[in-house]
């Protein structure tokens, strides 16, 4: 039998939400153009670790396999990113894979990103259009604004910007960088703007914009290239105006 080329994976595992994490190493058969997901699939197919012991297959989440759903985020060689676009050929070996430490681990590489969805609810990241009668067509939007809103709408709630941010951790209640681009996106929309102040109130409150320390890792890490720090500074200006208005007119 000819010698099979393998790739060494070092994976941080955890059996359940409350169990202790531990490291386990695997040698998976190498194929050209494989990504971290296909490497994990090899372990699933043959759950034997590098010592030759049979073990539980590593579990992870993935869905779209084209970096649009955000489900497969994990920390690969120290960097939070999507496993589906992490090509083994382009990674330093051995490949170290960990769950994103910012979120509670459910099992192995699966984390619970609920806090992001809770944050979206808190800032009302939607446009209320339901009514008892037909409200007619929405207002027209200038093309330049539509393009900007489109960039902001690319967010896939993947959690990478939270993992990258030094101010998102157990000691703070910071909602995370992504939320501000969603506030901007819905406040820019002419119909969404009708609820602008409710969203501003939400980011003025607990875990809001005040927690940002301008380390600007988020904008470097975001796989979708969303101008996160521009939204943050733009909302800082909105809050400057809004808080003065609240203060002087109440």
């Amino acid at each position: 039998m000819s010698e099979q080329k393998t790739v060494r994976l070092i994976i941080k595992r955890q059996d359940g939400p409350d169990s202790q994490p531990y490291w386990e190493e695997f040698d998976v058969p190498y194929r050209k153009n494989m990504n971290v997901i296909s490497a994990l699939m090899e372990i699933q197919r043959n759950p034997v670790n590098a010592k030759g012991q049979k073990t539980r297959p590593v579990v992870w989440e993935s869905n779209c396999l084209e970096e649009v759903c955000g489900a497969c985020s994990m920390v690969i060689n120290g960097r939070p990113r999507q496993a589906c676009t992490a090509l083994i050929d382009k990674l330093e070996k051995p490949v170290r894979i960990e769950p994103m430490a910012t979120f509670p681990v459910i099992r192995d590489l699966i984390v619970d990103r609920s806090r992001m969805f809770d944050a979206l609810k808190r800032v009302k990241a939607w446009i209320p259009i339901d009514g008892t009668h037909d409200l007619g067509p929405g207002p027209r939007i200038p093309e330049t604004e539509r393009q900007w809103m489109y960039e902001l709408s690319k967010c896939m709630t993947c959690g990478v910007c939270l993992e990258a941010c030094p101010n998102v951790n157990a000691k703070s209640s910071f909602m995370g960088p992504f939320i501000f681009s969603q506030v901007q996106r819905f406040n820019m929309h002419p119909t969404g703007a009708m609820h602008k102040e409710e969203r501003l109130d939400a980011i003025m409150g607990e875990g809001g914009l005040a927690e940002c320390g301008n380390a600007q890792n988020c904008v470097q890490a975001c796989p979708k290239g969303i101008p996160l720090t521009t939204s943050i500074a733009a909302l800082n200006w909105e809050l400057t105006k809004y808080s003065l208005k609240k203060w002087l007119r109440s």
């Binding site: 990258a164 951790n169 809001g208 927690e211 301008n214 890792n217 890490a221 500074a233 733009a234 909105e238």
Partner: protein, 213 residues
């Protein structure tokens, strides 16, 4: 209002860092710069400042309380961060860490410096006319000179880089280009104000060396 507490504190912290604390830092270093023109020029400035009406009110409300609030809340902000320079060694992340490190250094330095100077004047151990001699004698010690050098440069860095983040925190510099330019401007401020502060330290130091020889 109570849910906006973090917001109000953070904005207050940011504002106080520039006005009055930052403004005072620049004024203080400029006054000290007169030491480069000799003892008489320096002592004249010190006495002029000490003759300001309502001096104690100015000191308490424009210097002491603002620094106290900014320092204590700054420690809390610094404590909340979990630095990750290891995985994100970018320029801004480095500045983020330096801002916190220099904040803590500045706090230690200011506490020591105020104890040695203003508190000693208040206790009647040193007369205002003797402050020049006091600084000369403090800085004649090589270790104290090094401590003052680090303290002054840390405070000035913290102030200059703090101006950068002040501009972001209030939404004045919004886009990447504006923020890049303000990085250059604030770093020029850092170098220039450091020069003013260090020149004064060197003036006292040289006077000490001259006395010693």
């Amino acid at each position: 209002m109570s849910s906006d507490r973090a917001f109000v504190y953070r904005r207050l912290h940011s504002l106080l860092g520039v006005i009055p604390v930052g403004a005072f830092l620049v004024e203080h270093l400029l006054t000290n710069y007169f030491a480069t023109r000799g003892e008489a020029a320096y002592t004249e400035k010190v006495l002029w400042l000490n003759n300001l009406p309502f001096l104690i009110l100015l000191e308490v409300f424009f210097i002491f309380l603002p620094i106290l609030f900014h320092g204590v809340y700054g420690l809390y902000i610094a404590y909340q961060a979990k630095p990750n320079l290891g995985s994100f060694g970018t320029f801004r992340n480095t500045m983020f860490v330096l801002q916190r490190v220099t904040g803590v250094l500045t706090l230690i330095f200011i506490a020591w410096h105020v104890w040695e100077t203003r508190v000693q004047v208040a206790l009647g151990n040193v007369a205002k006319e003797e402050l020049y001699d006091l600084m000369v004698s403090i800085l004649s010690n090589g270790w104290m000179f090094a401590f003052y050098l680090v303290g002054v440069i840390a405070a000035v860095f913290h102030f200059a880089n703090g101006l950068w983040s002040f501009l972001v925190s209030w939404g004045i510099t919004v886009g990447p280009r504006a923020q890049r330019i303000s990085t250059y401007v604030t770093m020029v401020i850092f170098v220039f104000v450091s020069y003013i502060g260090v020149a004064a330290l060197l003036a006292f130091r040289n006077a000490a060396v001259a006395l010693g020889s």
